[in-house]
């Protein structure tokens, strides 16, 4: 059984056409399922947990990056996780802006997402972890003054710029071989001097006296913070044009 979790903002009229298109396509493909609207729910964790217990085979996030993060946070962070890992898949239907996670998985729009759900191409994906918060895409922090400490050695950024800690690559412009199931995070540091630093790391501490880490462009986390990666943490239904092998 598919369970579709609609984010709050899809209630706005400007998204109604996209939602209708998706629902018609899902009906055509015989993929209808239960619809849960986050707008009316206070306990997301409890609701999703309950659906998994009732036998949901696929939890589909309908919305944007934040929707996906909410659902992953709800699944990973409680005792239903082992059931989810064994039985349940995560699907994504992107609607509106801010959908870099879906793009990374090769899902361009709502109609294509329905076809991808039908094809059920499954990849186990690592999740990045900062303290007790998981992230799928990436975490960023201002470059100047940032120190990445691995115990044996440390790196200090001496110029203004951006430090990106990438689990799942969301753009093709950086020609790095990023892989969300290699157990490593890709570190890309670009400074205003136009030099680039590239590293692959699995566990380190990030410190910056004045700046905070920003998870998937939304959640701020103070430093020092331990950053690591958990291998093969979620099974996701992905498109053929995903940005990784």
């Amino acid at each position: 059984m598919h369970v579709y979790i609609y984010d709050d903002y899809l209630n706005k009229s400007k998204y109604s056409k996209a939602v209708n298109r998706m629902e018609i396509r899902l009906t055509d493909l015989g993929l209808n399922g239960k619809i849960i609207r986050l707008g009316g729910i206070k306990n997301i964790k409890g609701t999703i947990q309950n659906e998994i217990r009732l036998g949901a085979k696929t939890i589909v996030a309908v919305g944007n990056n934040q929707t996906v993060n909410k659902i992953i946070g709800a699944i990973i962070d409680n005792d239903i996780y082992s059931d989810f890992q064994k039985k349940t898949l995560l699907g994504i239907v992107p609607i509106g802006n801010d959908n870099s996670i879906a793009s990374s998985f090769g899902i361009k729009n709502e109609e294509e997402a329905c076809n991808i759900l039908l094809a059920r191409r499954i990849e186990k994906i690592d999740l990045g972890l900062i303290g007790d918060r998981y992230f799928l895409n990436e975490t960023t922090i201002e470059g100047l003054g940032t120190i990445i400490d691995l115990g044996d050695y440390s790196l200090e950024v001496a110029e203004k710029g951006t430090v990106r800690i990438i689990n799942l690559l969301s753009d093709k412009e950086n020609l790095i071989n990023s892989n969300p199931h290699d157990g490593l995070l890709d570190i890309i540091i670009k400074t205003k001097k136009k030099d680039q630093t590239i590293l692959k790391l699995n566990k380190f501490i990030v410190t910056n006296a004045t700046e905070q880490l920003l998870i998937d462009g939304v959640i701020e986390v103070k430093t020092p913070a331990e950053v690591s990666v958990d291998r093969d943490k979620v099974s996701v239904i992905v498109g053929r044009d995903r940005l990784f092998q």
Partner: protein
């Protein structure tokens, strides 16, 4: 004959690149190819190749299979196979090498010690006129 362009080609796939704005402190040990354009203090080691850029400053012992130097190294250098010193290279420390190429303008302040196979081709000085000063 040594082909410098060919030797540099493999660095295009370097897994680790330390940019010019980065300061590394400690024991930086990797497994793949490493490019250093910034500064590093401590030790630098890999089973593969290292490229030291023109503006890089490395105050560390360096161990690798191959090494191409265009910047500055203060510390001993142990290279199993091939060492190439560009015209802007400056090394203060003893150098162990298997094969060697030194471009005009490179400065070495230390001992050059051949540690490769004696029957194989010895160090090649590609261009004459490198400044060598043994301590």
């Amino acid at each position: 004959m040594f082909n410098r362009e060919k030797k540099l080609e493999k660095f295009k796939d370097a897994e680790t690149v330390i940019g010019a704005s980065i300061k590394v402190k400690g024991n930086f040990h990797g497994q793949g190819n490493i490019i250093i354009e910034g500064s590093l203090e401590g030790s630098l080691k890999t089973d593969a190749s290292i490229f030291i850029g023109e503006k890089a400053k490395v105050v560390a012992s360096v161990e690798a299979k191959d090494l191409v130097v265009n910047g500055e190294i203060k510390g001993n250098v142990k290279i199993k196979n091939y060492l190439s010193l560009g015209g802007t290279a400056k090394i203060s420390g003893d150098i162990h090498y298997g094969e060697l190429s030194i471009e005009k303008g490179a400065i070495i302040n230390g001992q050059l010690l051949f540690t490769g196979d004696q029957t194989s081709k010895k160090g090649v000085q590609e261009n004459e006129g490198a400044e060598l000063t043994e301590e």
